[in-house]
Symmetry: C2
Subunit: 342 residues, 2 copies
């Protein structure tokens, strides 16, 4: 998140007002998605009475919401009619195959949002105020929501990750997909490489989502599941490829090293681990989306962070890996970091 613009040379009092009211932007976009407004915008003439009827809402409410969405860049307004911007047409209208609107459910999850209610107290303590490990407490139902609703955001990453994980690989391979979630990453590897067999680790209710996606993708005969905690479940193996996606950021470095050592033991020599994560630059304040993810980890976990490449490299080396390399995913805030078991 965050625009990451260079600070203005002259004082900008408006930025303070804007930031103290930024939560209204979140509320407006979430409300529009909930009211199915972006579908109505794509379908209809776009005048207030029509939109209000289509969304079963008041005309006053729809007019003010649509004006606000125009101001913040999600609609255009002309002659008292509202229409899509390129962004809302591609990513917010449910009729678009690339629609991301469902991410509002995970990102607006009440537990996650409530973690920011008293952020000053979080900062005093230095960790989440949620009980235990926060969002990564065992069997936290938020990960079922993640698996359902974040899939459209993660899907565009699957093909690049699959290509990176499979580069130079031939013949039968066994692939371990840790914290599989929606399963799309392992499934994509199975689709790209017909001789790949996938074993997916996650909590059992989450794996139900992954299994359904594997069936839809037609790879269920090469897809097994290992329900439980990635820290304690028996991985079986050995594996030639291991995917660790959107996972290490939840834990402190010693915990990550413990997991990576366990992964290392379950791999064949020459095997490749591929870590997909938010990886900020060493300055920790760029690029904005990856760097700002640290705040989410502060508010929702006991000791997680968005790790820089050097930090990930150190953890991977400490765990026995070598040849650590970064592969930024173009057009995304994510980076794939690969390493090899010698």
């Amino acid at each position: 998140m965050a625009t990451g613009a260079r600070p203005a040379d002259t004082p900008q009092p408006g930025l303070i007002f804007d930031t103290l009211l930024a939560y209204e932007r979140t509320a407006a976009l979430r409300a529009a998605i909930e009211l199915d407004l972006f579908r109505a915008i794509g379908e209809g003439p776009g005048d207030v009475p029509w939109l209000a009827a289509r969304c079963s809402a008041s005309e006053r409410g729809i007019r003010i919401l649509c004006d606000y969405l125009t101001i913040i860049g999600f609609l255009v307004k002309q002659d008292q009619r509202y229409g899509h911007t390129p962004t809302s047409a591609a990513f917010l209208d449910p009729r678009s195959p690339s629609c991301l609107a469902s991410i509002s459910r995970f990102l607006g999850n009440s537990t996650m949002v409530a973690s920011f209610n008293d952020l000053a107290e979080v900062i005093r303590h230095g960790h989440t105020l949620l009980p235990g490990e926060g969002s990564v407490e065992p069997e936290n139902p938020v990960w079922v929501e993640f698996a359902h609703s974040m899939a459209p955001m993660m899907a565009p990453l699957a093909a690049p990750l699959g290509a990176i994980a499979l580069e130079g690989v031939s013949g039968p391979v066994r692939v371990l997909d840790i914290a599989a979630g929606h399963g799309l990453f392992g499934i994509q590897v199975a689709r790209q490489h017909p001789q790949a067999r996938i074993a997916a680790v996650d909590w059992a209710p989450v794996l139900e989502v992954a299994k359904a996606n594997a069936r839809t993708a037609g790879v269920e005969d090469r897809y097994e599941t290992l329900p439980g905690s990635a820290f304690t479940v028996d991985y079986g193996g050995p594996y030639q490829i291991v995917l660790i996606t959107n996972f290490l950021h939840h834990f402190d470095p010693p915990t990550c090293v413990g997991l990576l050592r366990k992964v290392h033991r379950a791999m064949t020599p020459g095997g490749r681990v591929a870590v997909l994560d938010f990886v900020p630059n060493e300055d920790r304040v760029s690029p904005p989306m990856a760097a700002s993810f640290s705040l989410v980890m502060l508010a929702t976990t006991a000791a997680g962070d968005a790790y820089t490449f050097r930090e990930l490299e150190r953890m991977l080396r400490e765990s026995g890996f070598e040849g650590v390399a970064a592969h930024p995913v173009p057009g995304s805030p994510h980076t794939v970091v690969t390493a090899t078991k010698s």
Copy 2:
């Protein structure tokens, strides 16, 4: 609020992610103000251990907060030390005479913020879900908070408003200040014109704040108060000048006309009314700060709005005024609209 940028020509999925997490920006800035971080930044060497000690907070929390504030434009970072941007130095460090940090208390008022918790439902209904008239229910304590904490934001408007209200005025004048709040607008007129006597209308507990400010300004001998509702209290008079500041936006046009007629009756012929408000352009989507204020009125009032100049002109004419003119206040989202009793 809102940057009001022209929508991008290519789809920007990052804008959706950014907006769904925009509430984190609000949380981060509010937390920094609560922790008195900006004072510490101005005082000290700006390294994490020093800042954490000075703010009685954890190093992990301070590091992640300061990185985040750097990303969103409120700090700069160099060599692991954080420093002020021009904006934070001028408007967030309590040692600065122009510090605005207190506005976080009113803008973060829990009742106001909670009005956005179920914005979809607000839009269905077309009005606030708060009881009765919402934020303008009689004696709502939020206006005492407003009088205390929003004064630094309103203070820069007082001199331009006073000059506009007093233009061409000479000799003894009686001035009515409706919804006086902090009282700064009427007080400024008294300071600019030693023959002006001010009568301030607001709820009694709010007027205590205004009276204290009048004493500080040394104009208490020309300052009287009329406690009660602006709709029912006896104004006395007649007045040559009436100020109506940040008030009409809370009500629907017929209610505004009722108030303006009451004001008209309390004025001398040739007297001037000066309305200070957020006045969006006729397109209702620009400029961004004034136009986006409508959403606040949707969420917190029964029927309020940010009115355009044409709408205000119509209400003023309907109430017997003429010569309606707009005076934008440079560098502010506010406009002063003046009119004359013929």
